[in-house]
Symmetry: C2
């Protein structure tokens, strides 16, 4: 088949050679009118509509200002020298140190050869580098999960899932099963899977709290479904009103929207409120009656300053045990994450969801979605295990762990109080006392009557009053927070969300000064 005149050239290569020569000739003479570049009108409409305020316009402007400062630190022309990122709960970007326990185990998992290398050292040197329980845990995890460089099962490593089930059982006093646990890349990945699977068309509704965490409206928009906002009661510590939810369900069903799931964020983001057991029970009743999937976003369960966190799974299990015939069809997805709490390991993308009450068929579809994403990052899966299964009293690492976690907890509490107290002193700004999470969501008491020029100026700039306030705050002080309209608010009210994570009190003082000046300028 190979002509003799091409000795040593295989048939395949020869074909390619000839064909390629033909192509070159062809291309020399080819002439066509080139097509134009894509515009956004060529794109998926739902991706245009999705909004994500936490990393939206104001944070993007903050990044520009940060670049301006960095590009010429001496002569940047701004009245401040740094940007205060209060727009996102990102503790380690600020000054929170990671917990030694986590990082020690993860470093050995990344470099398992180090285990045998330090084994050869004097025990004094060795213990200074790694306490013995760290080495033990790393060995154990490496044995069960294998290399952090290998894909795990798409649902996550089996050993870690067992640990998570045990953690939930002990937290709640009701059993949890490893097969119900999905390890995920932070809680965001879990939310995206759930909303995607449950969105069965333009008539699918999702009940979400208002104010909400904008991941919910963004993923609902991406899936062409309908957000149904139920208002939290600001005057009443952002509590939930079951009657309002029932009316919304009826109202939406009447107009052809089919509510499919109900989202609860507890402790609240951005509200900082904690739900009572009875509030949770009332919500479970609604889910049972209307066949709504419950999505319990409980990533701030360790961030509690006042009151007590009760998981939705616990209340659900209690009600199921009491009246199985009523609650047996309730479907609950609860989410947790390594990004918040005292861990603050946002960049490591660890998290889990527990799915209870779902049929096998439905769970299989969720599993398939997870498969398409291959697997959550394996070091993040290990981190989940370290978070829920920390050193115990008597372990070599216990004291340091205990010291570090209590001091972070104490520090977060102190920061929330400091900012809250500063807000209490500000004119025409009202704030609920924080109970948990990492945010304050104060109300800006702006009305057209009291602040006519503010509204005029905002209108001119095509901004809402809260956007205008946050923009001015950023431009004048370098403090970046997010206007309330990104989270949702009662029409005619204005809020902002800020974390209380930035260190020190200087930024709070600057904010207070800015606020006084702002009020003086715009209040009639």
């Amino acid at each position: 088949m190979v002509p003799v005149k091409y000795p040593g050239v295989s048939a395949g290569s020869l074909h390619r050679l000839l064909w390629n020569q033909a192509m070159i000739a062809h291309r020399r003479y080819v002439s066509f009118t080139p097509a134009s570049q894509l515009t956004i009108n060529d794109l998926n409409e739902s991706t245009l509509e999705a909004k994500y305020a936490v990393r939206g316009k104001i944070p993007i402007r903050a990044d520009e200002l940060r670049s301006q400062i960095e590009s010429d630190p001496e002569n940047h022309g701004l009245p401040y020298d740094r940007i205060i990122s209060a727009n996102i709960g990102n503790p380690q970007q600020l000054d929170q140190k990671p917990l030694s326990w986590y990082r020690q185990v993860l470093s050995l998992m990344q470099y398992p050869n180090l285990i045998s290398k330090i084994d050869g050292l004097d025990s004094e040197v060795k213990d200074k580098l790694y306490p013995p329980d760290v080495v033990e845990r790393a060995k154990k995890l490496l044995k069960s999960t294998g290399s952090v460089g290998a894909y795990s099962g798409s649902q996550g490593d089996a050993t870690v899932r067992k640990s998570v089930a045990k953690f939930i059982s002990e937290r709640d006093g009701y059993p949890a099963k490893p097969e119900d646990i999905f390890l995920t890349g932070g809680a965001s990945a879990a939310v995206l899977y759930l909303i995607q699977v449950l969105s069965a068309g333009k008539d699918t509704g999702f009940l979400i709290p208002i104010p909400q965490y904008p991941l919910y409206t963004a993923s609902i928009a991406l899936n062409n479904a309908v957000p149904i906002g139920y208002y939290l009661d600001e005057d009443n510590h952002w509590s939930t009103d079951p009657e309002q939810i029932r009316s919304l369900i009826k109202e939406n069903k009447d107009k052809g929207v089919n509510p499919k799931a109900l989202v609860v964020i507890n402790p609240g983001n951005p509200t900082g409120a904690i739900l009572s057991e009875e509030d949770i029970a009332a919500i479970i009743d609604i889910a049972a009656e209307h066949g709504l999937v419950l999505i319990a976003d409980e990533v701030y369960q360790e961030n509690v300053f006042e009151g007590k966190f009760v998981s939705m799974k616990q209340v659900y299990a209690k009600m199921l045990a009491e009246k199985p015939e009523i609650y047996k069809n309730v479907q609950l997805a609860s989410l947790h994450s390594t990004s918040k709490g005292v861990s603050g390991e946002c960049g490591q993308r660890g998290g889990y969801m527990e799915l209870v009450g779902f049929s096998k068929e439905v769970r299989d579809i969720i599993f398939k979605l997870a498969s398409i994403n291959l697997c959550p990052v394996v070091s993040g899966q290990a981190l989940v295990e370290l978070m829920i299964n920390p050193p115990k009293e008597g372990d070599a690492s216990y004291q340091l762990y205990h010291h570090e976690t209590s001091s972070i907890h104490h520090d977060l509490m102190k920061r929330s109080t400091l900012l809250y107290e500063a807000f209490c002193k500000m004119t025409d700004l009202k704030c609920n006392k924080p109970q948990g999470a990492m945010y304050l969501f104060p109300s800006l008491l702006f009305t057209k009557e009291k602040y006519p020029t503010l509204f005029e100026k905002a209108d001119e700039l095509n901004l809402t009053a809260d956007e205008f306030y946050c923009t001015e705050l950023l431009e004048n002080t370098g403090i970046c927070c997010v206007p309330g309209n990104g989270f949702g608010q009662v029409p005619g009210t204005y809020h902002l969300r800020t974390t209380f994570l930035p260190p020190g009190t200087a930024w709070i003082d600057q904010w207070a000064k800015f606020h006084d000046k702002f009020i003086a300028e715009y209040k009639q």
Copy 2:
């Protein structure tokens, strides 16, 4: 406002207390008919339709068999003692060791305190634990990216993106810009963003090679778009036929489907073939003429055994320089990953995409999608930097790095040859010589005439002939690979995809024995 008879109780708490008591009373008498559990008919139809064979039916069955073995290692009743996972390119799940260079730097990034701890050690002890260039790189990365526990920018860390741009410039001889680089969680995340953004409705078409990597059909299905398969020419080393692609475009436009993008996998998955520069140029011509976004999946660019990898970006840049008026609107997304090559760090979820030729508006939408996912795992971002910027000659780590990478490369080449040679000896199985990637995709030459009972039996089990072969292979030998129908194949042909990664030759011998027996049983 607080009645005197509840001293010490705030108005808010009191309201909650009373309301909660009311709720308890309410719940005691509440009666409703509980709604039923969700079925798959309540779910998003596109999530039901998406298929992902690489982790589909046969791999799920393999997991069951693995559990059966593990649950009773002595008495599991199977004719083998382990499952050979040849269904997925997951080198470190098998026996490939991670590169020391990567893991040493990442371990210090996980535990930065270790840097100062080892600084206090004797230099002899210290150098045994960490070569000095490892410590330097870790310090440099920690300085620029900050803690691996903090969220990075959604597009990925700026310093790493600068490194990627430099790597591409040096690889191709044409400039690349950091602002065009998006760091992603493996290449899969990039594919999912691109397909999602470009899917503008049921008339959007994506040209994909057949056979393809099933992530493409899965994500096209998830976005309700239309896959348009162009067949690679098996008889011609799986080469690409531009004329076929042009006809498909015309044919689809005529029936109202609008081709939006063209996917190229080079080196090929599952084919193992490498595209010539001229093949690539012909594809770019098509993209320029028809306004198709080019998606160049180049994750196997380091896995080349025969021939030479030329990046699509290089050919594009060359053509753009020659005839800017023709090529200025071509839009190219090229993808790379830390999961393949000699890195094999699948579980670490590192990767990047370079977007060239896109308008700012379109890029902003892709950025927004990345924002909704917050950020790719930060340790994975650091790993990208370590992959593209390894130790240089003269650096303390160079020798070990060079030794480890060459031995992995050599080993992969050897394994591919061994399996290929074994396939060449098998009856009615035909395989192209592998040029790159991690897979072989042999053809099973089964016809109803030659193998009537095989087709009868497969039909009875509601399986295709390739599914039947792979099922039998798994059940009889524990070797798990994936039938060709998961990747697409010319109707009436049957294939399977297998990695050549499993260690040793015993599994290959078992396969050969199984194959002989299978042929003997079914061939007429």
